[in-house]
Symmetry: C2
Subunit: 408 residues, 2 copies
């Protein structure tokens, strides 16, 4: 955890215990720091798992092995290493992950592919096997810890611990989802990584859990960006212990499936927003609503082009209602758009409509809106019914300081 907390930080929420989930910590000492850096989560027998992972083709062995485990759908444990991403380390990195999986499987009496491992931190350095073995050994017998302690321990240069929860009534039972996530500060020569974990006591079949997680991902994590750089380690896993005792959710015809899906989407969106609010150097949280595109996917691509534009992000950092830069970013997105049908607004006030600056445009309310911590941008393409919402943060001197003002 960094010393300077993001101005967009929120207090860690009160997360309830999830039956079948036990959190433990240890000091593996992956870096020369006086803090826990290994998180171990033990999961009850029968826990279902689903996951979504980075699409970066240079992904870590943790991601490769995690994909294989998710395909089987069963989980008994999760290990998260902080301080070393173990990415781009070849066969030596893979061996370290396999060692952790075997060690935990031996302790629990389960199959190694029911043990999930994530790592975050410096890349190009194989995870040291001796430190991993001692750390796992200590964690297996450590006293249980809180959600907030675990959220801090999976973090690297995050400036605040991040968690979220939601509940739903399924089959007459109240089921609970609790989740933690890390990302995306970076002051060491690392790659930004986002690691997130959702735990629920609901009973959900693995295939349906995967379907719901993929759908929730599409409107949450796939709609945020801090700096357009895609990590090699991004991982989001959902674990369902089944301890709530509901009849297992198999598809949308199962009673309560809609409620559970909504709760899962709610948690994913909360987590996604927290990551943006801890974006490197972030001073403002930006919501971009795109309407009138030819499809929802086209709207999302336009939104991300705007959210990734350095000129839009710096303008908002400067509290400048520079709608011309938004026009530019829409135009470069590579999606259908018509200059003469385009409308742009900030904070609900249109600056330009149908391709022309508004004759009676009053900048005062827009300028006031831009001074706030949360800024919204409205873009109407004027061509169809497609819509999407994308979230990002501004681009400030803080981003440069974090990423350039040091040597490795």
């Amino acid at each position: 955890m960094s010393d300077a907390v993001s101005p967009l930080a929120s207090p860690f929420p009160a997360l309830p215990a999830i039956a079948g989930v036990t959190l433990r910590l240890a000091r593996a000492g992956y870096k020369d720091w006086g803090r826990c850096d290994l998180t171990y989560v033990e999961l009850a027998e029968g826990t279902a798992v689903a996951g979504v992972f980075t699409r970066n083709v240079c992904c870590s062995s943790e991601v490769d092995l995690g994909r294989e485990g998710v395909a089987l759908g069963k989980a008994r444990a999760l290990v998260v290493n902080a301080g070393n991403s173990n990415a781009f380390t070849g066969y030596r990195g893979r061996e370290a992950v396999e060692q952790i999986m075997a060690q935990v499987a031996g302790h629990l009496g389960c199959a190694p592919d029911e043990v999930f491992v994530s790592s975050t931190g410096v890349i190009g350095v194989p995870l040291p096997k001796d430190k991993a073995r001692a750390g796992v050994s200590a964690a297996l017998t450590a006293a249980p810890c809180t959600w907030e302690e675990a959220a801090r321990t999976i973090g690297t240069t995050d400036t605040f611990p991040k968690g979220a929860m939601a509940q739903a009534v399924v089959d007459g039972r109240t089921v609970t989802l609790a989740a933690i996530i890390k990302g995306s500060g970076m002051i060491a020569p690392d790659m930004a990584t986002m690691l997130g974990y959702i735990f629920t006591d609901a009973a959900v079949e693995p295939a349906f859990l995967q379907e719901l997680l993929s759908a929730a991902n599409a409107t949450s994590f796939s709609c945020i960006t801090v700096d357009s750089d895609t990590s090699t380690s991004d991982t989001m896993l959902a674990f369902a212990t089944g301890k709530a005792g509901n009849a297992p959710l198999r598809d949308f015809d199962s009673p309560g499936a809609d409620a559970f899906a909504a709760a899962l989407e709610d948690v994913c969106r909360q987590l996604a927003h927290l990551v943006v609010k801890d974006g490197e150097g972030a001073q403002k949280f930006i919501r971009i609503d795109v309407t009138g595109a030819v499809s929802d996917d086209s709207a999302r691509r336009i939104g991300l082009a705007v959210a990734n534009s350095p000129l839009v992000k710096t303008a908002i950092a400067g509290e400048d209602a520079n709608w011309g830069r938004v026009v530019m970013a829409v135009g470069k997105a590579g999606e259908p758009a018509d200059r003469d049908r385009l409308s742009i607004g900030f904070g609900g006030v249109w600056c330009a409509q149908q391709g022309l600056p508004l004759a009676d445009y009053d900048e005062a309310p827009v300028a006031a809106h831009l001074k706030g911590l949360e800024v919204s941008v409205e873009i109407d393409i004027g061509l169809g019914e497609g819509r999407a919402t994308v979230w990002t943060c501004d681009l400030t001197h803080g981003y440069i300081s974090i990423n350039a003002d040091y040597r490795s």
Copy 2:
């Protein structure tokens, strides 16, 4: 022109006169500044023209009308307005451009579509017709000026004037190319724009000139990036007056066509490099060589993904040999790559090969290389024969200061 000159600036070269080309300046007063801001270039009868333009779908009327003129292939004049880009101004902006074209055509006795107009500066404000009319009127009768004066006048927040030349022997005659370009400083709430003009006394058929310009563009302007934001006004025009007296170049079978093509490509690359060297906040000029990709186009996309990565650009700004960030950027490019075949180097020294950090990697020469003003990054994908070179600059506090530390 800005007061603080880029550390990567070079002196304006000695550009010779081009027969059939006369440069003149005027003060239209598009902004409240005490400098010339309208450049008028008169071209001899029979001048051929070719052009490449922004692919931003929200382009200006100047770009729309310029495309139409290039399709006809003939040019008699060029007018460049600085201080107002006239983009996103609807029918009023288009009328202003058509007025300039008609005014110059009336003076020269040519067709309006032989008059090319470019504008650069603030967007969303229609170019004022009265200022444009008075400015053009003054320019038509002004005394001729130098290349350097014209290069300064087309600039907006550029920190130094930019020009280039090359010669070739065609059909027994020495032909000369002289060119000026502006881009890409920005301290007003504008969109970055790149405007460039190449003039030659060679005789070249318009269709072949277009073929050569498009080919040269593909390995020069299409291979540079400052911040990934594509302007609405980018324009590159080539004018051939034919005054050198060579037999007109029609295709690659014409004597001297290869030599002329090489000279044109040389000028385009010089201009492209000058734009990068005046990139906003640039402190280092970065060359990225990609080899071993599945195709040249794939190599170029990978190179641009690296060149547009904020994490790579800030690492180089910090003189940090962070090859892990290069791995990340290669992986996110969306092009074929294999983590375990990838090699990364700086300044000709490999840091990682075949997906593994080098065991005997010596960082000292790499660290020394990164302290220089010019940095090279080598990336071998290890899959095929595709190769490309891309150029960019680093991302520094200067970029943030230029684009965020002010209000419009």
